[in-house]
């Protein structure tokens, strides 16, 4: 889901860059306020893990693969704003060092995978947590379903960007249909991976999970 340079025209890409930079600015302030001491290395670890997981492309249909976006995963583990920063760090590292994702398209990708994937994805997770059970399994299940939904929503982000500034003569309605359809399928991979990882962390260190119902930040250290 990393956009190369050229799919979307320069004006739209630049406008997306401004929006993304605004989001990252807010995320830096918010993260600075709520992040606890031990979440600092933890957030670094989640960034490294999302990078590693994105190197794995799982098969989806004949001729197409998908990879983890990681927005909901990061947001549930260390909070939505830190999640947005994690996705941004991963995208910047991939764009600068690995030629994965165009540099002029960085803002577009940050919007799709970060603002939509992590922030909107986390809001969906919180809503789902209310309707599922507030147990460890409820956390993993809600995270999985939110992650599933976040992928077609991120794809929808691309469709909007393509409608505004898409280069080329592709039909809008078929791009809309195929983007949504394929990414709904990819979403199942996202949901399963997210659910497995969140479930594993909930089983071993539930006190570290920001999105868990009983999360207390550093205060839990006194209780342990």
């Amino acid at each position: 889901m990393h956009l190369p340079d050229g799919f979307i025209n320069g004006t739209t890409s630049a406008a997306a860059g401004v929006v993304a930079a605004g989001g990252v600015g807010v995320a830096l302030r918010q993260t600075g306020r709520y992040l606890s001491d031990r979440q600092v290395p933890l957030a670094g670890l989640v960034a490294a893990f999302v990078f590693a997981a994105q190197m794995f492309n799982f098969p989806v249909i004949s001729g197409m693969s998908g990879h983890l976006l990681g927005g909901v995963l990061a947001a549930v583990l260390v909070g939505p704003w830190a999640g947005l920063l994690i996705i941004t760090v991963v995208l910047v590292v991939q764009g600068v060092f690995f030629a994965d994702g165009g540099l002029s398209a960085l803002g577009l990708s940050v919007i799709n995978m970060g603002l939509i994937g992590a922030i909107l994805g986390y809001l969906i997770y919180r809503v789902l947590l209310r309707v599922t059970t507030r147990s460890d399994r409820g956390v993993a299940l809600s995270a999985g379903i939110a992650a599933l939904l976040s992928v077609p929503l991120a794809a929808l982000g691309f469709v909007v960007q393509f409608a505004i500034g898409g280069v080329g003569a592709a039909s809008m309605s078929t791009v809309f249909g195929t983007m949504l359809g394929t990414h709904l399928l990819i979403g199942f991979g996202e949901g399963i991976l997210t659910s497995l990882v969140v479930g594993a962390v909930m089983a071993s260190r539930p006190d570290l999970v920001y999105g868990a119902p009983g999360y207390q930040g550093d205060r839990t250290e006194e209780l342990v």
């Binding site: 990393h2 933890l42 957030a43 670094g44 190197m55 794995f56 001729g63 994690i86 600068v96």
Partner: protein, 108 residues
Amino acid sequence: MDRRTWNFIIVGLVVAVLFAVGVSQLGSPNPDGLEYVAEREGFIDTADDHAFGDAPLADYGANLGGGDRVNTAIAGIAGVGITLAVGWGLFLLARRAGRRDTPHVTDR
């Protein structure tokens, strides 16, 4: 920070490296969703070459000159190391700046 949390982070990093070096090699070589749609809908050719396409780690090690497996492994280890360092550094700075803004937050 407590020992258990450090242990958790070390185990997590080992899992990340295993994913980047090993599991990634078992993945599908097919294009991802966006690339697939771009090919199908005929706008893949509007993509420009990447500005840093000749970088040593570009395309996850394709320019490194070793075998595919070795290249991917090196790119995986380098990528995990770089994201960890950049992420940790950024969050450390954000945390310090946040403390200055909200002096009532006590450091423990």
